[in-house]
Structure formats: C-alpha cells, structure tokens
Amino acid sequence: MADTTTVDTYPKATNTKAQVQAIADNHVANGAKSSVVTEDATNWILTTVWPGGC
C-alpha cells in the first residue's frame, strides 16, 4: 500500500530548527513512518510520510 506525504513549511524568521524537529519527533511518535527536517533559504521544511494511501 502506498503512503501519503505532507510537506510543512515553517518560516525561519519565527521558528528554530529545534522547534520544527520537535514536531518531527512528535509525528514519528504518533504514527508517522518518517518525518525529516530540511531547509531552504527562508524556511524549515518538514517532510512527513503518513502510512496509508492509494
């Protein structure tokens, strides 16, 4: 079965990487298959894979 991927974007101006990483850890502790923090010039990017999908 396929999974479903979400991409959450948090502005760097108002969020730290640690805060976004805490969300990632929370997602994995609550059912997500994976949740990874990356970044671009202005945002923290949280990519999460949720189980289930078509």
């Binding site: 479903t4 991927t5 974007t9 948090y10 730290t16 189980p51």
Partner: protein, 333 residues
Amino acid sequence: MALRGEGTDMRTRRQRGLSRCARMGLAIAVLAGLLAGCAPLTGYPKDPEDTDATLTRLAPYFDGAAEAQYLALADPTLRAQKRNDIILARIHAYDIEFADFERRLYGDGNATTLGGDLVGLVLAGLTATTGNAATKSALGAASAGVIGASSAINKDLYYQKTIPALLAQMEADRLKAELPITTGLKLLDADYPLAQAYIDLDAYKTAGSIPAAINAVNQSAGNAKDQAQANIAFQRTSAQAQLVSLASVQARLKMLISDAQLVALAKAMQPYLASRSPQLQQLVKAIDPNGLRLTGNAQKARQVINAWVGEDDMTPVNQQQWLDAIASAARGS
C-alpha cells in the same frame, strides 16, 4: 650482376607488396563477408507448427461463417459453446500473429540493423582505401568510417534497450486484456454475448501493438510523476504553538485503546472535516479514499486520526472539537 640483383630485389619487393595488399584485401573481404553473411540469431526456437496453414484453417472464424452459425443457434448452451469456439480461435490467431511480430521485432531486426549498417560502412571504406589515394585521403575515409560505425552502434544500442521494454509492456497488456475474455468464457451467452466478446478481443489485439505499449509506458511515467507531485503542502506559522496544542489532544487520545473507540472517534470527527483546509481534506482523502474508517476499519481510523491530528490547524475551536469527540468516543465504548 648488380643490375640483375637490383632487379631481383625490386621484383621481390613488388611481390611482397602485392602479397601484403592481397592479404589485406582478402582480410577485408572476409570481414565484409562475415558481416554480410551473419545469420540472424533470433533467440527463439523454431516453431514446429505450420502457422500459415493454421491461420488458413481459422479463417471461418474471421469471415463471418462461424458468426452466422452462432446467430442461427437458439439453444443457450450451444450458443455459448459456439461463442467460446469463436473466441478461442480468434485468440489463437492473434497469438500466432503476435508471436511472429515479436520474433521479427526482437530477432531479425536485432540481428540485421547493426550488421547492415556495418557492412555498408565497410564497403564504403573499401572504396575509399583500396585505390592509390593519398595517405591523407585514406585517413579521412577511415576516420569517417569510425565515426559512422559509432553512430550505427549507438542507434543499435538504443534499439536493443527499447524493444525488450516495449515487448514486456505488450505482453503485460495482453495478459491484462485477456482477463475479461477468460472470465467471459465461463459466463452464459446472455451475460457475455459474442458482441461483447468482440470488443474485448479487439482490446486484446490492440494490446499487442507498439503504439499501445508506448502509451502504456508513458501513462506509467505520468502516474509516477503525478504521485511525486501529490505531496500535500501546509504553510505553518509557529511550530511551538502547534506542538503545545498537539500535545494536549494527543494526551487525551491515549485514553482510547480499543478499535471500536478509534472508529467512534473517526465518525465523531467526520462532520468537522468539511470545515478544515482543502489540504487537510486532501490528506484524509488520500489516506482513506473509500471512507473505510467510517464502516468499521480500525486501521484506517487510526491512520486518519494520527495524520489529521498531526497536521490539523489547532485553533481553539478545532482543539475543542477533538477533545469533545475523544470524550464522546471514550464514553461510548
């Protein structure tokens, strides 16, 4: 003596030169002969069946004669038998033609393209290099030959890599198209009449074509691209605020331990889904497209609830909806 000796040396050198030219010419001729004479290795065993004769015998199943017999039958059992005869005969004919098509694509084409190109290049090279041309001219011709050969090999490598993939797609498509036909063979004539079988047979025939295979390959690539583009994007403001509200809902969520409670929670939250962002609705739809969580599927209920809570915009109103629904699900069990 000295003159005779020089003459002898010249004759010897000329003979050696002629001998070298003869050997070179012979080698080139042999090479050209080998390339031209390459027997195609098709990769298929010889077919013991006289397929031309078989196709001739199957002609009544294509020219309307067998169809007329089918239409003249009134008994449903006999009609189904005749229908099946026509279907199986047509499948056999299509299989023969496809096997021949496959053989020619993979076998003969594979063997002749490179061989034919190289023979042409060798002959062109012979023309340019066996005369008394200047060294520069000979080198130019040789260089052109090398470049030409490289082009021929590249073209053939593309061919070799593409055709097996298309053949595999064609075979997969034919198997897929054959399924409704083999299912129909078991049905009554009233449920699977010959007219319907003809439609399925046409699909089976078309599935064995290169255009259909290319379309299928492109469609697969398009689906993969769509899947890659199907990521659901959320624009957030504060990770800290999100985490605080998440934690309060998740702490209550741990109260629900049975499958029935999870399904009850999924049902209790369903009326609120329409008020959520399009992205969140898309997420729920992607995880549970058929709404199985609402018909008692606890695994789907758990997957949807986890993702929904994790990605929800936890405004005070939304947060309260979750807390009330969790309390309701806990009481209901």
